[in-house]
């Protein structure tokens, strides 16, 4: 048997699992890009205030925006929207607030994760400013209202008349 002839084949064969291990990790950015492009998974896009001002206001149309909040794993928080719903014109920026209260007598850091339903609407729901863009630090027993400014792209499909924006508040550990 000619053993030496095995080497090139083996190099190729061992390369496959190594590449596929990398591919597993490559799926992470691929997945995020895919979700951002398609708006799947409720991931909402960001928009600068300047870009938002370029959008055409559509005063003939009203869309209902509902706000939902939840706290992950029964964390020590009170978390609710200042108003549960509002009627908005596409193309016009609006600001609303979310109220959060740290029930613990020590400093906690929170991170809120947004999700938009229905899926068809996620691509047209843009935020110019949001408390969810960064971590929010709360002193012991601190309560405050946090703003979010958003605009609906006027190209929102005709059949969508209600959009739900939900936030889940996570307690960040180790910070």
């Amino acid at each position: 048997m000619e053993r030496h002839s095995l080497r090139p084949l083996l190099m190729k064969l061992f390369a496959i699992p190594i590449l596929m291990f990398g591919f597993g990790y490559l799926m992470v950015p691929l997945y995020n890009v895919f979700c951002e492009v398609t708006g799947l998974n409720g991931k909402t896009g960001r928009l600068s205030a300047a870009e938002a001002s370029l959008l055409q206001e559509d005063l003939s149309r009203l869309v209902k925006i509902q706000f939902v909040t939840s706290v992950n794993q029964d964390g020590p928080w009170d978390f609710r929207p200042a108003e549960t719903s509002m009627m908005v014109h596409p193309g016009k920026p609006y600001t609303t607030k979310f109220y959060a209260y740290n029930r613990m007598d020590k400093t906690l850091v929170s991170q809120s994760i947004p999700s938009v339903a229905p899926i068809q609407a996620t691509r047209y729901f843009k935020k110019t400013e949001c408390f969810c863009f960064i971590e929010q630090k709360f002193n012991a027993s601190e309560a405050r209202e946090m703003p979010v400014t958003f605009v609906i792209n006027p190209q929102l499909p005709e059949d969508v008349d209600t959009i739900i924006l939900s936030y889940t508040l996570f307690t960040k550990t180790g910070t």
Binding site: L6, L13, F23, G24, V28, Y31, N41, I113, F170
Partner: protein
Amino acid sequence: MTVPADLTHEDYGGHHGPRKGLLRWVTTTNHKDIGTLYLWFSLIMLFVGGAMAMIIRAELFQPGLQLVNPDFFNQMTTMHALVMIFGAVMPAFVGLANWMIPLMIGAPDMALPRLNNWSFWILPFAGTLLLSSLFVEGGAPAGGWTMYPPLVLQTGAAFPMLIFSVHLLGISSIMGSINIIATIMNLRAPGMGYMKMPLFVWTWFITAFLLIATMPVLAGAVTMLLTDKYFGTSFFNAAGGGDPVMFQHIFWFFGHPEVYILILPAFGIASQIIPTFARKPLFGYKSMVYATASIAVLSFIVWSHHMFTVGLPVGAELFFMVSTMLIAIPTGVKVFNWVATMWRGSMTFETPMLFAIGFIVLFTIGGFSGLMLAIAPADFQYQDSYFVVAHFHYVLVPGAVFSIMAASYYWLPKWTGHMYDEKLGKLHFWLSAIFVNLVFFPQHFLGLAGMPRRIPDYAVQFADFNMISSIGAMGFGLSQLLFAYIVIKTVRGGAKASDEVWEGAQGLEWTLSSPPPYHSFSVQPVIR
């Protein structure tokens, strides 16, 4: 030990046989020894995983909580799956590959004998690591074998043991697969082109590629779990910008090819056994090869049918529904070919044939319930119900496990040189075939009626079918003790088996003596 006529004593290079003593098994690089080790390992794991199944079914015998607490019950469902998949079925197939592929293609041994030794000896360590997690603080993993975060991250001290045992099992099967591919590509006897290889070799060739392509993805996914838990990464942690659903995508990108890893070698075994006992060549050899290859390719684009209910857009649901149903076509080709092989054959029904026919019939039932699950709108009802449990047990127990039993009876006389006890073998088949249906058929009804999977207790309207299922499970479990008895009895003695063993058997392995010499085909046979 008889020597093939074309070999003289000198051809063995002075190696007359195995080393003496226990060290033989530790240091062996002989494909027959390693195949034997794999098969014993998998038989032991079959009983370990089976004992866990007995605990599950005993608890489910009646509604209410009787024997174990719910957390231990969850540990049992998780460990039963891991032990059976990675400890019993996969090593059994690798063991069969080790024993049979060199004999079937006329090779003297596997291409990489030392690597072969490693790929086996990692297994007992991985298995021990996994099983010993039952005894650490917090108990064994209990979040299901699919290891979905964030639930799996709540596992206690067992968590890193789970991850590292999955790593080890993965490394073992990747090395085994590379060895199998290298053997098939390099060591075929002169004249044996790819399209002349026996189908067991073909199906393993394709399975090995699936393994080296997907096991590393699983290794990556569990490594991400590990770093999420201990090193502050946020792959699947929503608070840090990750996404738990992404784990399901990565896991099932591995997971779906994995289920074909568990069944393609079974297709190969059925394709070896049925022609032998029908005394006809396999019908549609080429279409069998192409069907196997297309099943393997399709397996990479269907994974999301495991997650129809996570909130996929309609377009994705449709794509994964249709691509999943597409797999029924090559699978149908295979079933058709097996039936066509038996058509007007001079059939006899020895134990391997009984198991092979049982495999075809019962695997097809599992295939059909798979098609039902593939219907995306209907899946919202079936998801995570006992219907799913019934489905995958039909393809894995009377599917994969029956094929391994069939292969064991078929080649046991070749391996040991002794005939097994035909009466006991047939008894074992009929007990297994009856009880396996008693266990799993009622589970279809339970699932359709709404009983969720992975629960230790259930509503009283499910009591009757659960009791039937539990009785079947005890019967099936006890029947397998008979299998172990038959195997041990055959190893220790019995009527002398002829070289050909079966009247209609075709293939190089039957040209060797029974048992074959320790080193066979040192001079490769030439295929005309």
